[in-house]
């Protein structure tokens, strides 16, 4: 059995039971995601940049719905609204919706292998972006270019990586028998 040594590098299989996440770890990852969102980018990097905060929120809503739910997502969205200087409530509404959708789909999403999870995450992130677009339309914005759909897709591509990193502290220590 050479595979178990590579285990931490691949996402947990649906059958694997994870330890409960520690609250401070959840808070830390949320702060780091906010930090990544606040990085000053421009040009191509800005047009590719996924919403890290939405990704991390989505992960915790799926894995730890008892800690992170609609309320936390909404509060985090408010902070993001201030950081981006957008209308108050725009990100909050989008994240609250995302958290609800995650809670609704979580049992199904977890049954799939990582790449199929990523496809479902792409749909959720695109819906979230569409909601923001709707809010902006009401405010009288122009139709954005097709590149508006790129960041959610990049985010979905990053999903397996995000899962591996975020579930790493929750992997149970391997028993000696397994080695």
């Amino acid at each position: 059995m050479a595979l178990p040594y590579l285990m931490p590098l691949s996402p947990a299989s649906p059958e694997e039971i994870l330890l409960p996440a520690r609250p401070w770890f959840i808070v830390l990852t949320l702060v780091l995601a906010l930090f990544a969102n606040l990085l000053p980018l421009s040009g191509v990097a800005l047009s590719l940049r996924p919403d890290f905060l939405a990704l991390v929120l989505l992960y915790w809503c799926i894995q730890e719905p008892r800690f992170v739910g609609v309320g936390i997502a909404w509060c985090v969205g408010l902070v993001m609204d201030v950081g981006d200087g957008t209308v108050f409530g725009q990100h909050a509404l989008a994240y609250a919706f995302l958290a609800y959708a995650a809670e609704y789909f979580r049992r199904r999403v977890l049954r799939f292998p990582p790449w199929q999870q990523a496809a479902q995450v792409a749909v959720l992130l695109l819906l979230c972006a569409a909601l923001v677009l709707l809010i902006q339309f009401v405010g009288g914005a122009n139709m954005p270019r097709w590149s508006y759909a790129v960041p959610p897709l990049v985010g979905a591509l990053l999903w397996p990586l995000v899962s591996v990193v975020l579930q790493w502290p929750q992997r149970p220590p391997r028993s000696p028998a397994e080695r």
């Binding site: 702060v31 606040l38 800005l46 739910g69 909404w74 957008t86 609800y100």
Partner: protein, 306 residues
């Protein structure tokens, strides 16, 4: 036949259901959206959150600043000396203009004194650095590193070395938000430098060039004309360069000419900007006389009657 209601006992009670919570927060969000766009009631909350967020925002600048520092350390001697030469040349070129400007402005002051006009406002100017460009794809904004602490206020004009960049639209305790002239429906009152035709320049949103609306097809304007601020609104001081006319379509069937312009300032490039203190040169609006309403009504009545 009746169905037996099967409800699992609430062993693990977790408060209201997700759907209830979602509905609650959606309602709050919608009312906040409404309050913020219509009345701007929520600025205080925004300030509090902004202060809490400030350390993290500054920390997020560190990686790019470090990269710029390392890049600057390894800048070649040749690049620096070339830049130095270019700057010296520019200084000499502008020196001639500046010397001319002193005598011109003296002359202007005398003439204005003769005409008993108010002197042109020379307010405080603050140099600011762009922290980051807005990440909202629907708005053209940049965030700068000074705010209420440096005495900025909403409505201040923002320029760079080439021309108008935009105006301060929101002042946070340590930062300010500058809306660029390319933002959708951002209006700058301008006039054509060559002919003096007045108009208003409207931004058209991301990736599109600002345009002049409501100019008749026979207006005296040509491709390549420079547009400068007219100073009529009291926000932008008069005479700042704004844009160059990029394309011009005069169709006889249309009411107005289609005129797109290219901003002169490095709207999306400049790192350092200058915030001009609010132009208080415009005299205060005179008070309406107490019986203004009555006078207006009778005036209207008279006109109608006559």
């Amino acid at each position: 036949m009746r169905h037996i209601q099967v409800e699992p006992p609430a062993f693990f009670h977790r408060g209201p259901s997700p759907l209830t919570r979602l509905a609650f927060f959606v309602l709050i969000s919608l009312s906040m959206l409404f309050l913020d766009t219509r009345y701007r009631y929520l600025e205080n909350i925004r300030h509090v959150v902004a202060v809490a967020l400030y350390p993290l925002q500054r920390a997020a600048q560190v990686p790019s600043e470090a990269m710029a520092f390392v890049g600057g350390y390894f800048a070649t001697q040749r690049a620096l000396s070339e830049e130095n030469a270019a700057l010296k040349r520019q200084l000499v070129e502008q020196g001639a203009m500046a010397q001319g400007a002193v005598s011109t402005s003296n002359e202007n002051a005398r003439l204005k004194a003769l005409l008993d006009m108010r002197p042109r406002y020379h307010g405080a100017a603050t140099v600011v650095e762009v922290l980051y460009t807005g990440r909202d794809p629907f708005a053209q904004k940049v965030f700068v590193n000074k705010g209420a602490d440096a005495g900025l206020s909403p409505g201040d004009a923002v320029i760079d070395a080439q021309g108008v960049v935009g105006q301060v639209t929101r002042v946070l305790p340590f930062m300010a938000e500058v809306t660029l002239v390319t933002d959708k429906d951002h209006a700058v009152p301008v006039k054509v430098e060559r002919s003096g035709v007045r108009s208003v320049l409207f931004g058209a949103g991301a990736g599109r060039l600002p345009e002049l609306r409501f100019l008749s097809p026979n207006a005296d304007i040509q491709q390549g004309d420079i547009l400068v601020t007219s100073g009529i609104d009291g926000t932008y001081p008069p005479g700042l360069a704004v844009a160059r006319v990029a394309s011009l379509e005069r169709e006889t069937g249309q009411m107005f000419a289609r005129i797109t312009t290219q901003p002169l300032a490095g709207v999306d490039r400049s790192e350092y900007l200058l915030v001009l203190g609010h132009a208080s040169a415009t005299p205060a609006r005179p008070d309406e006389p107490a019986d203004a309403d009555a006078a207006k009504k009778t005036g209207k009545g008279r006109r109608r009657g006559g």
